[in-house]
Protein backbone atom coordinates (compact mmCIF):
# COMPACT_ATOMS: atom_id res chain seq x y z
CA UNK A 1 0.00 0.00 0.00
CA UNK A 2 2.96 2.35 -0.26
CA UNK A 3 1.45 4.66 -2.78
CA UNK A 4 4.39 6.53 -4.14
CA UNK A 5 6.02 3.70 -6.01
CA UNK A 6 2.79 2.86 -7.80
CA UNK A 7 1.98 6.32 -9.09
CA UNK A 8 3.84 7.01 -12.33
CA UNK A 9 3.47 10.77 -12.10
CA UNK A 10 4.97 10.90 -8.64
CA UNK A 11 7.83 8.64 -9.62
CA UNK A 12 8.70 10.77 -12.63
CA UNK A 13 8.43 13.95 -10.56
CA UNK A 14 10.80 12.55 -7.96
CA UNK A 15 13.24 11.23 -10.53
CA UNK A 16 13.37 14.25 -12.80
CA UNK A 17 13.21 17.16 -10.42
CA UNK A 18 14.32 15.95 -7.02
CA UNK A 19 17.29 13.77 -7.88
CA UNK A 20 15.83 10.64 -6.32
CA UNK A 21 17.62 7.61 -7.69
CA UNK A 22 16.57 4.67 -5.56
CA UNK A 23 13.00 3.38 -5.43
CA UNK A 24 13.16 0.38 -3.09
CA UNK A 25 10.39 -2.21 -3.23
CA UNK A 26 9.59 -2.22 0.44
CA UNK A 27 10.02 1.38 1.57
CA UNK A 28 9.25 4.90 0.40
CA UNK A 29 12.05 6.72 -1.46
CA UNK A 30 14.59 8.83 0.38
CA UNK A 31 14.56 12.52 -0.47
CA UNK A 32 17.24 15.03 0.45
CA UNK A 33 16.22 17.46 3.18
CA UNK A 34 16.95 20.38 0.86
CA UNK A 35 14.20 19.24 -1.54
CA UNK A 36 11.65 18.52 1.18
CA UNK A 37 9.59 21.70 1.04
CA UNK A 38 9.76 22.01 -2.75
CA UNK A 39 8.60 18.42 -3.13
CA UNK A 40 5.63 18.92 -0.83
CA UNK A 41 4.71 22.09 -2.69
CA UNK A 42 4.95 20.39 -6.08
CA UNK A 43 2.86 17.44 -4.89
CA UNK A 44 0.20 19.74 -3.49
CA UNK A 45 -0.04 22.28 -6.30
CA UNK A 46 0.83 20.27 -9.40
CA UNK A 47 -0.28 16.72 -8.63
CA UNK A 48 -3.23 17.64 -6.36
CA UNK A 49 -2.08 15.72 -3.28
CA UNK A 50 -3.96 18.18 -1.13
CA UNK A 51 -5.03 16.15 1.88
CA UNK A 52 -2.44 16.08 4.64
CA UNK A 53 -1.63 12.53 5.67
CA UNK A 54 0.84 11.84 8.42
CA UNK A 55 4.32 12.39 9.81
CA UNK A 56 6.19 9.45 11.29
CA UNK A 57 9.54 9.89 12.97
CA UNK A 58 11.67 6.95 14.00
CA UNK A 59 14.86 6.80 15.98
CA UNK A 60 17.84 4.72 14.89
CA UNK A 61 20.35 4.70 17.73
CA UNK A 62 24.04 4.65 17.01
CA UNK A 63 26.18 1.59 17.48
CA UNK A 64 29.80 1.69 18.61
CA UNK A 65 32.47 0.14 16.44
CA UNK A 66 32.91 -3.58 17.00
CA UNK A 67 36.65 -3.57 16.42
CA UNK A 68 39.21 -0.86 16.54
CA UNK A 69 39.72 0.78 13.20
CA UNK A 70 36.17 0.13 12.05
CA UNK A 71 33.67 2.94 12.18
CA UNK A 72 30.46 2.52 14.13
CA UNK A 73 26.97 3.56 13.08
CA UNK A 74 26.00 7.11 13.94
CA UNK A 75 22.68 7.95 15.59
CA UNK A 76 20.07 8.95 13.02
CA UNK A 77 16.42 9.87 12.69
CA UNK A 78 14.09 9.01 9.88
CA UNK A 79 10.96 10.92 8.97
CA UNK A 80 8.22 9.64 6.71
CA UNK A 81 5.71 12.11 5.31
CA UNK A 82 2.48 11.18 3.59
CA UNK A 83 0.08 13.18 1.44
CA UNK A 84 -3.14 11.99 -0.13
CA UNK A 85 -5.04 12.93 -3.25
CA UNK A 86 -8.79 13.23 -2.98
CA UNK A 87 -11.67 11.91 -5.00
CA UNK A 88 -11.94 8.77 -7.10
CA UNK A 89 -8.77 6.68 -7.28
CA UNK A 90 -7.37 8.42 -4.24
CA UNK A 91 -3.64 7.74 -3.92
CA UNK A 92 -0.93 8.28 -1.39
CA UNK A 93 2.47 9.91 -1.81
CA UNK A 94 5.02 8.95 0.82
CA UNK A 95 8.63 9.96 1.08
CA UNK A 96 11.35 9.70 3.68
CA UNK A 97 13.95 12.06 5.08
CA UNK A 98 17.06 10.91 6.86
CA UNK A 99 18.51 13.19 9.53
CA UNK A 100 21.67 12.97 11.58
CA UNK A 101 21.38 13.51 15.31
CA UNK A 102 20.91 17.19 16.10
CA UNK A 103 19.90 18.07 12.56
CA UNK A 104 16.68 20.04 12.15
CA UNK A 105 14.02 18.98 9.68
CA UNK A 106 12.29 21.61 7.55
CA UNK A 107 8.78 22.09 8.84
CA UNK A 108 5.76 21.71 6.57
CA UNK A 109 3.52 24.06 8.56
CA UNK A 110 3.59 26.82 5.96
CA UNK A 111 2.13 24.42 3.39
CA UNK A 112 -0.13 22.25 5.54
CA UNK A 113 -1.65 23.50 8.76
CA UNK A 114 -2.08 19.90 9.90
CA UNK A 115 1.68 19.49 10.11
CA UNK A 116 1.57 21.69 13.20
CA UNK A 117 0.24 19.10 15.63
CA UNK A 118 1.80 16.15 13.84
CA UNK A 119 5.27 17.63 14.06
CA UNK A 120 4.69 18.69 17.64
CA UNK A 121 3.73 15.13 18.45
CA UNK A 122 6.84 13.71 16.80
CA UNK A 123 8.99 16.30 18.58
CA UNK A 124 7.36 15.36 21.85
CA UNK A 125 7.72 11.60 21.49
CA UNK A 126 10.81 11.10 19.33
CA UNK A 127 12.67 14.36 19.80
CA UNK A 128 13.10 15.49 16.20
CA UNK A 129 13.31 19.26 15.96
CA UNK A 130 11.64 21.14 13.13
CA UNK A 131 13.01 24.33 11.60
CA UNK A 132 10.38 26.95 10.91
CA UNK A 133 7.72 25.52 13.23
CA UNK A 134 5.93 28.44 14.91
CA UNK A 135 5.02 26.73 18.16
CA UNK A 136 7.18 23.70 18.92
CA UNK A 137 5.95 22.58 22.35
CA UNK A 138 5.20 19.20 23.81
CA UNK A 139 1.79 17.88 22.76
CA UNK A 140 1.18 14.64 24.64
CA UNK A 141 3.49 14.58 27.61
CA UNK A 142 3.48 17.15 30.45
CA UNK A 143 5.54 20.20 29.57
CA UNK A 144 8.18 19.47 32.23
CA UNK A 145 8.72 15.88 31.09
CA UNK A 146 12.29 14.80 30.55
CA UNK A 147 13.35 12.62 27.65
CA UNK A 148 11.62 11.48 24.49
CA UNK A 149 9.58 8.33 25.15
CA UNK A 150 9.52 6.81 21.68
CA UNK A 151 13.29 6.75 21.28
CA UNK A 152 14.63 3.24 21.16
CA UNK A 153 16.94 3.73 24.13
CA UNK A 154 14.16 5.07 26.37
CA UNK A 155 13.08 2.32 28.79
CA UNK A 156 9.37 1.61 28.63
CA UNK A 157 9.04 1.57 32.43
CA UNK A 158 10.93 4.75 33.14
CA UNK A 159 10.29 5.67 36.77
CA UNK A 160 7.95 8.59 37.20
CA UNK A 161 7.80 9.66 40.85
CA UNK A 162 5.59 9.64 42.82
CA UNK A 163 3.46 7.31 40.75
CA UNK A 164 6.03 4.63 40.03
Amino acid sequence: MIGVVHDERVVSLLRDRFEVAGFPDDAPPLVGAAHHLALARALRDELQFRLFGFVVASHWPGKPAKKEGESGVAEAFELAYGLRSIGKGSGLAVWRLCLAAGEHAPSLVELFAGADWQEREQFDLVGVRFKGHPDLRRLMMPEDWEGFPLRRDYPINTPCPPWR
Partner: protein, 240 residues
Protein backbone atom coordinates in the same frame (compact mmCIF):
# COMPACT_ATOMS: atom_id res chain seq x y z
CA UNK B 1 2.45 3.03 47.77
CA UNK B 2 0.13 3.22 50.71
CA UNK B 3 -2.51 5.86 50.97
CA UNK B 4 -3.12 7.93 54.03
CA UNK B 5 -6.83 7.52 54.41
CA UNK B 6 -7.22 10.32 56.95
CA UNK B 7 -10.42 10.74 58.87
CA UNK B 8 -12.81 8.18 57.39
CA UNK B 9 -15.22 7.73 60.31
CA UNK B 10 -17.49 10.58 59.40
CA UNK B 11 -19.99 11.61 62.04
CA UNK B 12 -23.09 13.31 60.85
CA UNK B 13 -23.70 16.73 62.51
CA UNK B 14 -27.30 15.73 63.11
CA UNK B 15 -26.16 12.94 65.39
CA UNK B 16 -23.87 15.26 67.31
CA UNK B 17 -26.83 17.54 67.88
CA UNK B 18 -29.15 14.72 68.91
CA UNK B 19 -26.64 13.23 71.29
CA UNK B 20 -26.55 16.51 73.17
CA UNK B 21 -30.34 16.73 73.56
CA UNK B 22 -31.64 14.78 76.58
CA UNK B 23 -34.15 12.10 75.71
CA UNK B 24 -33.51 12.19 72.00
CA UNK B 25 -31.03 9.30 71.96
CA UNK B 26 -34.00 6.93 71.71
CA UNK B 27 -34.77 8.39 68.31
CA UNK B 28 -31.16 8.19 67.17
CA UNK B 29 -31.27 4.61 66.02
CA UNK B 30 -34.42 5.16 64.02
CA UNK B 31 -33.07 8.28 62.37
CA UNK B 32 -29.80 6.49 61.74
CA UNK B 33 -31.66 3.80 59.86
CA UNK B 34 -33.49 6.45 57.92
CA UNK B 35 -30.26 8.23 57.03
CA UNK B 36 -28.56 5.00 56.03
CA UNK B 37 -31.51 4.15 53.83
CA UNK B 38 -31.30 7.59 52.27
CA UNK B 39 -27.55 7.46 51.75
CA UNK B 40 -27.45 4.04 50.15
CA UNK B 41 -30.31 4.78 47.84
CA UNK B 42 -29.09 8.13 46.60
CA UNK B 43 -25.46 7.55 45.71
CA UNK B 44 -24.87 10.32 43.23
CA UNK B 45 -21.97 9.57 40.98
CA UNK B 46 -19.22 11.67 39.55
CA UNK B 47 -18.08 10.05 36.30
CA UNK B 48 -14.31 10.30 36.20
CA UNK B 49 -14.61 8.64 32.80
CA UNK B 50 -11.45 8.79 30.77
CA UNK B 51 -11.50 5.93 28.28
CA UNK B 52 -13.30 2.77 27.19
CA UNK B 53 -14.74 2.04 30.63
CA UNK B 54 -16.42 5.41 30.37
CA UNK B 55 -18.48 4.14 27.44
CA UNK B 56 -19.59 1.10 29.41
CA UNK B 57 -20.33 3.44 32.27
CA UNK B 58 -22.55 5.44 29.94
CA UNK B 59 -24.16 2.21 28.79
CA UNK B 60 -24.83 1.39 32.44
CA UNK B 61 -26.52 4.74 32.90
CA UNK B 62 -28.49 4.30 29.67
CA UNK B 63 -31.71 2.52 29.02
CA UNK B 64 -30.94 -1.18 29.31
CA UNK B 65 -29.27 -1.34 32.70
CA UNK B 66 -30.53 1.99 34.00
CA UNK B 67 -28.66 2.92 37.16
CA UNK B 68 -31.36 5.45 37.97
CA UNK B 69 -33.49 2.79 39.58
CA UNK B 70 -30.86 2.53 42.32
CA UNK B 71 -31.14 6.25 42.90
CA UNK B 72 -27.79 6.98 41.30
CA UNK B 73 -27.74 10.11 39.24
CA UNK B 74 -24.77 11.29 37.21
CA UNK B 75 -23.62 14.78 37.99
CA UNK B 76 -21.01 16.75 36.13
CA UNK B 77 -19.55 18.46 39.15
CA UNK B 78 -17.72 16.89 42.09
CA UNK B 79 -19.46 19.12 44.61
CA UNK B 80 -22.81 17.37 44.18
CA UNK B 81 -21.52 13.85 44.37
CA UNK B 82 -21.01 11.02 46.83
CA UNK B 83 -19.23 8.46 44.69
CA UNK B 84 -16.37 8.99 42.29
CA UNK B 85 -16.28 6.26 39.67
CA UNK B 86 -12.84 6.20 38.11
CA UNK B 87 -13.53 4.55 34.78
CA UNK B 88 -10.50 4.24 32.59
CA UNK B 89 -6.76 4.67 32.43
CA UNK B 90 -5.31 7.43 34.56
CA UNK B 91 -2.09 8.88 33.21
CA UNK B 92 0.56 10.80 35.10
CA UNK B 93 -0.68 13.95 33.41
CA UNK B 94 -4.23 13.34 34.60
CA UNK B 95 -3.56 11.95 38.09
CA UNK B 96 -3.05 15.32 39.87
CA UNK B 97 -6.37 16.49 38.41
CA UNK B 98 -8.14 13.36 39.66
CA UNK B 99 -6.69 13.94 43.10
CA UNK B 100 -7.87 17.54 43.05
CA UNK B 101 -11.39 16.56 41.98
CA UNK B 102 -11.49 13.94 44.72
CA UNK B 103 -10.54 16.57 47.27
CA UNK B 104 -13.34 18.82 46.01
CA UNK B 105 -15.99 16.22 46.80
CA UNK B 106 -17.75 16.71 50.13
CA UNK B 107 -17.64 14.06 52.83
CA UNK B 108 -18.91 11.38 53.11
CA UNK B 109 -17.53 10.11 49.80
CA UNK B 110 -16.60 6.83 48.24
CA UNK B 111 -14.44 5.78 45.33
CA UNK B 112 -15.08 2.98 42.85
CA UNK B 113 -12.24 1.75 40.64
CA UNK B 114 -13.90 0.51 37.45
CA UNK B 115 -11.92 -1.62 35.04
CA UNK B 116 -8.50 -3.14 35.18
CA UNK B 117 -6.75 0.06 34.06
CA UNK B 118 -8.02 1.92 37.10
CA UNK B 119 -7.31 -1.05 39.37
CA UNK B 120 -3.77 -1.84 38.32
CA UNK B 121 -2.96 -0.14 35.02
CA UNK B 122 -3.60 -3.44 33.23
CA UNK B 123 -1.25 -3.93 30.27
CA UNK B 124 -0.33 -0.28 30.38
CA UNK B 125 1.04 -0.58 33.89
CA UNK B 126 4.68 -0.68 32.83
CA UNK B 127 4.39 2.29 30.52
CA UNK B 128 6.11 5.52 31.40
CA UNK B 129 2.93 7.62 31.19
CA UNK B 130 0.41 5.49 33.09
CA UNK B 131 -0.36 5.35 36.80
CA UNK B 132 -0.26 1.70 37.92
CA UNK B 133 -3.57 1.66 39.74
CA UNK B 134 -5.46 4.56 41.26
CA UNK B 135 -5.08 3.12 44.75
CA UNK B 136 -1.59 4.58 44.68
CA UNK B 137 -3.17 7.94 45.41
CA UNK B 138 -6.88 7.46 46.17
CA UNK B 139 -8.60 5.36 48.85
CA UNK B 140 -10.60 2.89 46.80
CA UNK B 141 -13.74 1.40 48.32
CA UNK B 142 -14.88 -1.01 45.63
CA UNK B 143 -12.97 -2.63 42.78
CA UNK B 144 -14.95 -3.63 39.70
CA UNK B 145 -12.68 -5.82 37.56
CA UNK B 146 -13.03 -6.31 33.82
CA UNK B 147 -11.73 -4.82 30.60
CA UNK B 148 -14.15 -3.13 30.46
CA UNK B 149 -16.62 -4.52 33.02
CA UNK B 150 -20.09 -5.11 31.68
CA UNK B 151 -22.71 -2.64 32.87
CA UNK B 152 -24.18 -5.39 35.01
CA UNK B 153 -20.85 -5.77 36.79
CA UNK B 154 -20.75 -2.07 37.54
CA UNK B 155 -24.23 -2.40 38.99
CA UNK B 156 -23.03 -5.28 41.14
CA UNK B 157 -20.14 -3.12 42.29
CA UNK B 158 -22.56 -0.42 43.36
CA UNK B 159 -24.67 -2.97 45.23
CA UNK B 160 -21.49 -4.01 47.04
CA UNK B 161 -20.84 -0.36 47.82
CA UNK B 162 -24.33 -0.02 49.29
CA UNK B 163 -23.69 -3.06 51.45
CA UNK B 164 -20.41 -1.59 52.57
CA UNK B 165 -21.99 1.74 53.47
CA UNK B 166 -24.62 -0.08 55.54
CA UNK B 167 -21.97 -2.07 57.38
CA UNK B 168 -19.73 0.95 58.00
CA UNK B 169 -22.61 2.98 59.39
CA UNK B 170 -23.64 0.09 61.61
CA UNK B 171 -20.07 -0.15 62.89
CA UNK B 172 -19.70 -3.71 61.61
CA UNK B 173 -17.15 -3.10 58.86
CA UNK B 174 -13.76 -4.48 59.74
CA UNK B 175 -11.85 -5.30 56.54
CA UNK B 176 -10.46 -2.87 54.10
CA UNK B 177 -11.40 -3.70 50.53
CA UNK B 178 -8.23 -5.06 49.07
CA UNK B 179 -7.09 -5.27 45.51
CA UNK B 180 -8.32 -8.63 44.20
CA UNK B 181 -5.41 -11.04 44.16
CA UNK B 182 -5.13 -13.37 41.18
CA UNK B 183 -5.71 -17.03 41.85
CA UNK B 184 -2.67 -19.19 42.30
CA UNK B 185 -3.36 -21.13 39.13
CA UNK B 186 -3.49 -17.88 37.18
CA UNK B 187 -0.02 -16.87 38.26
CA UNK B 188 1.79 -19.95 37.01
CA UNK B 189 0.61 -22.68 34.67
CA UNK B 190 -0.55 -25.76 36.51
CA UNK B 191 1.19 -27.94 33.91
CA UNK B 192 4.85 -27.15 33.25
CA UNK B 193 5.54 -25.71 29.83
CA UNK B 194 7.00 -27.75 26.99
CA UNK B 195 10.43 -26.29 27.50
CA UNK B 196 10.42 -26.89 31.25
CA UNK B 197 12.74 -29.83 32.16
CA UNK B 198 10.41 -30.70 35.07
CA UNK B 199 7.61 -31.53 32.69
CA UNK B 200 6.25 -35.04 32.61
CA UNK B 201 7.82 -36.89 29.67
CA UNK B 202 4.74 -39.00 29.04
CA UNK B 203 2.61 -35.92 28.72
CA UNK B 204 4.93 -34.41 26.11
CA UNK B 205 5.04 -37.65 24.18
CA UNK B 206 1.25 -37.92 24.30
CA UNK B 207 0.85 -34.38 23.02
CA UNK B 208 3.37 -34.85 20.24
CA UNK B 209 1.65 -38.05 19.21
CA UNK B 210 -1.75 -36.39 19.08
CA UNK B 211 -0.34 -33.48 17.08
CA UNK B 212 1.34 -35.94 14.73
CA UNK B 213 -2.00 -37.59 14.14
CA UNK B 214 -3.50 -34.26 13.12
CA UNK B 215 -0.59 -33.46 10.90
CA UNK B 216 0.31 -30.27 12.74
CA UNK B 217 3.54 -31.47 14.30
CA UNK B 218 5.70 -29.51 11.91
CA UNK B 219 3.67 -26.38 12.20
CA UNK B 220 3.77 -26.38 15.95
CA UNK B 221 7.53 -26.80 15.94
CA UNK B 222 7.02 -29.88 18.04
CA UNK B 223 9.73 -31.79 16.25
CA UNK B 224 12.31 -29.47 17.66
CA UNK B 225 10.77 -29.63 21.09
CA UNK B 226 10.63 -33.41 20.91
CA UNK B 227 14.33 -33.65 20.32
CA UNK B 228 14.94 -31.05 22.99
CA UNK B 229 12.95 -32.94 25.60
CA UNK B 230 14.72 -36.15 24.75
CA UNK B 231 18.17 -34.69 25.13
CA UNK B 232 17.38 -32.98 28.42
CA UNK B 233 19.25 -34.75 31.24
CA UNK B 234 17.02 -35.98 34.07
CA UNK B 235 16.86 -33.69 37.04
CA UNK B 236 19.12 -34.74 39.88
CA UNK B 237 17.24 -35.76 43.02
CA UNK B 238 18.05 -33.59 46.00
CA UNK B 239 16.98 -36.22 48.52
CA UNK B 240 19.10 -39.37 48.31
Amino acid sequence: MAVDEGERSFRHPLFEFMARMPGLDVATTTVDKLLTWGTTNSLWMFPMATSCCGIEFMAAAASRVDLDRMGTILRGTPRHCDVMVVAGTITVKMAPRVKKLWEQMPEPKWCVAMGSCAISGDFYRDIYAVVPGIDTFLPVDVYVPGCPPNPEELMHGLLRLQEKVRLVRAGKWSDQESRPAPHEHLRAPSIPRLTDPDRDKDLSAQQVASADGLGFADEMNLVKIRTATRSTPPKTEEDP
